[in-house]
């Protein structure tokens, strides 16, 4: 199985990656070899196998419903390029 250049551009856009035309053909080849491996996996009969959601054979630990985090906004916002009135500012997004 291989991917068209348009499919690669589509995936790149979803991942917010900007690729040049050369990079698109290069990545197409690499992705195709990954998909070949997936094809091999799909040839295996897995009807008796329970899908694995996690490599560790363990169950999720739960924590009690308690508030344990204090407000550290001022510290966290020192990492932000721009803040105002407690809000993080980002380039305008319009729906």
């Amino acid at each position: 199985m291989s991917l068209t250049n348009d499919q690669v551009r589509g995936i790149a856009r979803l991942a917010r990656l900007r690729l040049t035309d050369e990079e698109v053909s290069e990545v197409s080849g690499k992705l195709a070899s990954i998909l070949e491996m997936v094809d091999q996996l799909q040839a295996t009969d897995t009807r008796e196998v329970v899908p694995m959601a996690h490599p560790l054979d363990a169950a999720q630990r739960l924590r009690p419903d308690e508030v344990t985090e204090a407000d550290q906004r001022d510290d966290y916002q020192r990492n932000a390029p721009q803040t105002e009135r407690g809000l993080y500012l980002v380039p305008r997004v319009v729906e």
Binding site: L14, H54, D65, Q82, Y88
Partner: protein, 478 residues
């Protein structure tokens, strides 16, 4: 009408926990921006989500109340998309293995019948933050207090056939999640909101038409109007020879129209995969049974019991089980009066009490007249101490804080005059004072009876028993 409407709802109920689904940040509404956003909520590298036990318990409560199967093992998945109010670049949700699935809920139809609406699944997920687009000199402000707030997304089967059915179903879910104490149901604060998937098809067609999705419907009135508009739009489109395009649309309540929200090339492609930061959630059968044992009597069962135990009409039982608090109130009051007065209690709760609560903007939990007090009043109507009319005056005095029914009746001298001798004397006075009307009555103008009763009531300040007065006047005149 040759078109059939097909609707499925996705309801987001914010779970009423103290802390977030994957972090120990508070979930309280209305805090200063970003003061309830920890490193996990902010999507910092190197931090790990830890699941809140209460969130799982609440999902199981919902599942059991709707006849769902509780998954012994469910899995969290990453739903990938980029938006500034989603700092990690993915939302932790559930995809292939939701926590509960395959249940149903019954709704009442306008014709008095009932309908079973399938619940495909309900899954746990985290909410995103909030984007503020105005007033930041061309930039967008982000508040991440809401990021990581636990949500239960309840997905219905496409079983709903009209906007009214959609609203009825949404109300039932709203009633249930509040009844179970898993969601406060506050729609203004966004704790309960809904997306609707809508399509049309010709009657008799079994395949589903192409659907559109209406986003973020956050009031019962809007959802009804929004769906109605979208259905009309699709029918017009198809009848004009067009085809419905699968897209997400937004209802604009100001202009009462729906409009497309995301363009087609941004079509949903979330590339779900199991979140490696979280292990599968295992729910043991013993846990499920313990939660089942802790469930309250559910609204539908309680409604049936109200009909059976208190002899109420189904309508009354439905109104009185609208919320658990209201049902508790009714039952406390009805249990304190003689059984035949239970319907009278229902009338008072649905009538005067509800009117007074609405007038003062109070909910039943903060009623100025509590259940034992209302029972005290109804008992005095039931045993003929006061008439229903006088009881309204007593109720207002109780509402104003003047004490209990007996005290007010005593203090204001409102006790009904049932002493026949005293009433006979008053009737005689009235007859003596109106010889003209008496003559007219005897000439056959019997509708003057009302006049005489009115006169007696006036002289007794309404405290006479109307039936008794009627009989006495009749006896005196004929």
């Amino acid at each position: 009408m040759k078109w059939e409407t097909v609707i499925g709802l996705e309801i987001h109920a914010q779970l009423a926990t103290r802390s977030k689904i994957f972090s120990g940040s508070a979930t309280a509404y209305g805090a200063e921006p970003n003061t309830q956003a920890s490193l996990v909520d902010l999507g910092y590298p190197g931090v790990l989500p830890v699941l809140n036990a209460e969130v799982v318990r609440m999902a199981v409560r919902f599942g059991l109340a709707t006849g769902c199967t509780i998954a012994p093992r469910s899995v969290f998945a990453r739903k990938n998309y980029f938006y500034p109010d989603l700092p990690k670049g993915y939302q932790i949700s559930q995809y292939e293995l939701p926590v509960v699935h395959g249940g149903y809920l019954e709704i009442d139809l306008a014709d008095g019948g009932r309908k079973r609406v399938g619940i495909t699944r309900a899954h746990l997920e985290e909410d995103a933050g909030k984007s503020l687009h105005e007033d930041f000199h061309g930039m967008t402000g982000i508040d991440l207090n809401r990021a990581g707030t636990p949500l239960l997304e309840i997905v219905s089967e496409p079983d709903l056939r009209s906007p009214d059915e959609a609203v009825a179903y949404m109300r039932r879910i709203h009633q249930l999640v509040r009844w179970l104490g898993i969601c406060d149901g506050n729609m203004q604060e966004g704790s309960f909101r809904c997306d609707a998937n809508i399509s049309i098809r010709r009657h008799g067609e079994t395949r589903l038409g192409t659907r559109t999705e209406l986003k973020n419907l956050n009031s019962f009135r809007f959802i009804e109007r929004a769906i109605r508009h979208e259905v009309e739009r699709q029918i017009e489109l198809v009848e004009d020879g067009g085809t419905v395009v699968q897209e997400t649309r937004l209802y604009d309540p100001e202009r009462d129209v729906t409009r497309p929200m995301r363009s087609k090339e941004e079509a949903n492609d979330y590339r779900y995969f199991p979140d490696p930061d979280l292990l599968p959630v295992v729910i043991e059968p013993a846990t499920v049974e313990a939660i089942r044992a802790s469930l309250p009597e559910l609204p539908a069962a309680r409604r049936e019991r109200f009909v059976r135990d208190y002899g109420l009409p189904d309508y009354d039982a439905g109104v009185l089980t609208a919320s658990r608090e209201l049902a508790e109130y009714y039952e406390a009051a009805a249990g304190a009066v003689p059984p035949p007065a239970a319907k009278l209690v229902a009338n008072w709760v649905m009538g005067e009490l509800t009117a007074a609560l609405n007038r003062d903007g109070l909910d039943i939990g903060s009623s100025r007249v509590d259940a034992p007090a209302l029972a005290g009043l109804v008992a005095r109507i039931h045993d003929d101490t006061i008439s229903g009319k006088i009881a309204k005056e007593v109720f207002e005095a109780m509402w104003a804080g003047e004490g209990d029914a007996d005290g007010i009746i005593e203090a204001r001298g409102l006790k009904q005059i049932t002493d026949a001798g005293a009433l006979e004397a008053i009737v005689a006075e009235v007859i003596a004072a109106h010889p003209g009307q008496v003559a007219e009555y005897r000439d056959g103008k019997h509708k003057l009876m009302g006049f005489f009763v009115g006169q007696v009531m006036k002289r007794t300040q309404g405290k006479a028993n109307p039936g008794q007065v009627n009989a006495l006047i009749k006896a005196a005149l004929e």
